[in-house]
Symmetry: D2
Subunit: 146 residues, 4 copies
């Protein structure tokens, strides 16, 4: 297995995920090499992240007007080709919570639980007006810690 900078112990790392969304690979997400285009992985990451934040109550009214979490960086490692008509499980977890930002990790496995995609990315909490990073409220942090 290829070593990935953001994963120390793969077995441990995988065991920490529980939230996931099912992903049905679309025909338009393949490319002429016959498998899923590498760009599509980030579409799946975003869909999973948004669903996760929704579940965590991040888009509930009240919170959203003051600050908004924005993607600061993203990365993906491609471990195994994915083909049209495969069903993926795309897992998401919060890996680390800072003052103004937090890290999200991603794991995509096929129906045989084989590793297809891993990834991570930092979200920064921006003030909706100034666009500058602001500390997350305790309430926000609590939501992410569940």
């Amino acid at each position: 297995m290829r070593s990935v900078s953001y994963i120390e112990d793969m077995q441990q790392w995988r065991s920490e995920f529980s939230f996931y969304i099912p992903v049905n690979i679309r025909f338009s997400e393949t490319d002429m090499f016959g498998h899923v285009n590498n760009v599509s992985a980030f579409i799946y990451f975003e869909e999973a992240r948004v669903e996760f934040l929704k579940e965590a109550g991040f888009f509930d009214s009240g919170e959203k007007n003051e600050s908004i979490p924005i993607v600061a960086d993203l990365q993906c490692d491609y471990h195994k080709q994915i083909y049209f008509d495969e069903k993926l499980k795309l897992y998401v977890k919060v890996n680390q919570i800072g003052t103004t930002s937090f890290d999200i990790h991603y794991l995509g496995v096929n129906k045989d639980s084989e590793l297809c995609l891993t990834g991570r990315g930092r979200m920064v909490n921006l003030d909706a007006e100034s666009g500058k990073p602001v500390p997350m409220s305790e309430k926000m942090k609590a939501k992410l810690s569940v």
Copy 2:
């Protein structure tokens, strides 16, 4: 040549286009059949339409706050497969101007001027506040008639 409902005389129809954008087919726009995915045609149509309306001064300040042209329908006929690394010319013209809407026609040809894509779609001029169709100003119509 296949007959298309919105084209009466193909030669005449083609001769009425002059504005175009160059389209460089991206790898991510192909699919596992090895050619450009059918969804991509509508990406090219939108890019060409937006450039055309920009050129016509449609996004100049002053105009945009009152009403906004929205896509009401779209259609595309696929005449010839398009492959990765091809260069297309995507032509756009205004075909018919009504009171609250206008029709845009699309033509995509390859480097040998062969017909690859034809299409059309209606734009409706909506009031920015109410979201209801409103008559286009004479100024808007003038811009479209050039």
Copy 3:
């Protein structure tokens, strides 16, 4: 309700659909107007069509090597704006079966069963080697007629 060329009696037309896929609107499918980009409708159409043809046994082995159904044209009417986080039902039906081609109709409704998208498009059965239209087998037609 806007009149659409391929729908004679809307109530009758809607009643003829039964197969559908659920569509979860992705964040990346919206645009800066705040709603679903018009290109995304064709992504949903494709996903629904492919699932439909799969269910109909069209991608079962044996059949696929000889001929392949290709999109000849596509059209979509946008009846109602769709927003991020909405759930759509995207219905598909075969509307008409010819010798070498068939028509697929599309219907997208929101959770209140309101009409959001309607569409249609012709599929042509191409010989996998020559790339020329060939008659569909009785077996193919039977699959589409269910």
Copy 4:
């Protein structure tokens, strides 16, 4: 300026790029936050990478049948929001060449040469038949070193 793991000295790093493609931000690449969706960055990266490899003669006949460079990982840092109708320059360079793989770096700047996107990703040279990593030929390495 935010620190990025793959950039030691930003000024030095920027000075090493020369190849770029112009990117015209498409309307369909924005999202409801009003700026370019984070997924779109990877579309631009791919387009720039493919053009770069083409220029380097990587898709010339003869070479392609034996081995093929595949994306092993990708990452992007978002330094500044990008908006519809902006023109980007997307720069690409080879950063490091190994035995069976090489690293590509990416830089996206706006018309004022402000840093918008930086990124990197490893390409692995796979044997076209076995799908296993194979050493790159001296010819391939020479192409990448220019």
